[in-house]
Subunit: 96 residues, 7 copies
């Protein structure tokens, strides 16, 4: 089973951050912030401008991205959780 | 009797999810989340851009789709319940 | 006396639904939902796009339509009640 | 003294409705609904589209119109009250 | 000193209305409504459409106008009070 | 150090008004209104229309302007306070 | 690891201001205002207009900028904090 996003949507697998203090102490769950990073699983074909032109996404499958807090919709497919976002909610790509 | 959606609307038959925990325990109704999946029954002819061009929908009849929570309007036709959504409320197609 | 809707407006005569349970029991008024179906009495000449082009309505006189809950304006003309809606509040046509 | 509306505005003289029950009983003032009908006194030259084209109004002087509840601005000129509305607040023309 | 409005702005000198009842009784200040009439002192050069075209105002210096209640910004220049409005807040010109 | 505003922004040095009553009495600080006048220190290169055309500002360095109350962002650079506004928040130029 | 902003986004490293009173007294943390200055670390490729044209940003890497209070999203990458903003939230460049 595969997800095919519509328009300018992207499907993201959230990366749970192992949050440590600068001194290296691993924080418990309750002290973690809402994660804002993920790996792009699938991208839509793009959005259509008012002149009829289709603009492909800047983001591609496999990109590691930072997204806006509380953006997107969480979905669960076959027990796995994903986040579906519009490209405008993707702030930056982390180049590795 | 058949429904013909207007513009970029789609008619969806919601798929009630048999929600199980990862361990396989079937959850009672009160523990289920609001369903977000459906089967597309009918699609509109598309939306009209500001330049007069008509853009056909990316979604087609028979697609299994994920839609935004609380999106669309529930309607009951001959005792059957449907959800009518704009294409922009459809997040992704689940390819089977 | 006749109503001529302006722009993309349509005039609808609401169809009061004789709501029955699946078992055939007719529900009293207080158990009925707000009706969302109607018969189109008149349609406007269409809306004008930003490029000056006039787009005629997809809906035509005589269509049986489903509209969004709480959409439109109720008007009373010579003792008869009508609902005037924008085409964007019409969700689908019921083909009979 | 004459009113010349700007853009897509129309000046309307509200028609106070002699509201009767179906059985013919005339209702007192407190039982009347807010009037939604009026006679068009003057119309603007039209609105300008983003392409610079001027679109004349569909409504013309002398039309009897139905307008949206609570729309427009009430003005008093030489003791007479008028309602100034945008064309988009005019729902339909009543053809007599 | 002179005011030159920017874009589609107009500078208006509000006309305080000597409000009388139909029977001719002059009302005290507390019974007066917020004035909605003024004399146009200066007009901007117009607004720029999305196609780059500049649209001059329909209103000109010296016009007596009716404006929307609570619209615009009150400014005081050398002890004199003016109202600066966008053209879209001007409802009509009173032709004398 | 110099400020270069972005797009249609302008940098303004607010003019504190020595507010006097008509009779010439200078008002204490607590009786003064929020100032709405300033001298333009720097202007952006203009805003870009949807057709790609760049529209230069109507306002130029050195202009004395009236701006909308509570508009813009106050910034402090090297101990000096400035107000950065969009051109649409500038109501008029005071020609001296 | 490097951040590549999407569209018209810019990545900014906030400059903590050593805030002193005019008399030279250094203020404690609680008396400091929310910082509004930063150094641009990376810029997106630009935003796409409705005519399909891509507009590159006015801001470039290395610029010292003033941004709107409370604008943007704070992100933490490898223990370093950054602010990701849209170009429209950048008010001005400080030329040094």
């Amino acid at each position: 089973m595969k997800l095919r996003p519509i328009g300018d949507r992207v499907v993201v697998k959230v990366i749970e951050q192992e949050e440590k203090t600068k001194g290296g102490i691993v924080l418990p769950d309750t002290a973690k912030e809402k994660p804002q990073q993920g790996r792009v699983i699938a991208v839509g074909t793009g959005r259509i401008l008012d002149n009829g032109q289709k603009v492909p996404l800047e983001i591609k499958e496999g990109d590691r991205v930072i997204f806006a807090k509380y953006a997107g919709t969480e979905v669960k497919i076959e027990g796995e959780e994903y986040l579906i976002l519009s490209e405008r909610d993707i702030l930056a790509v982390i180049e590795e």
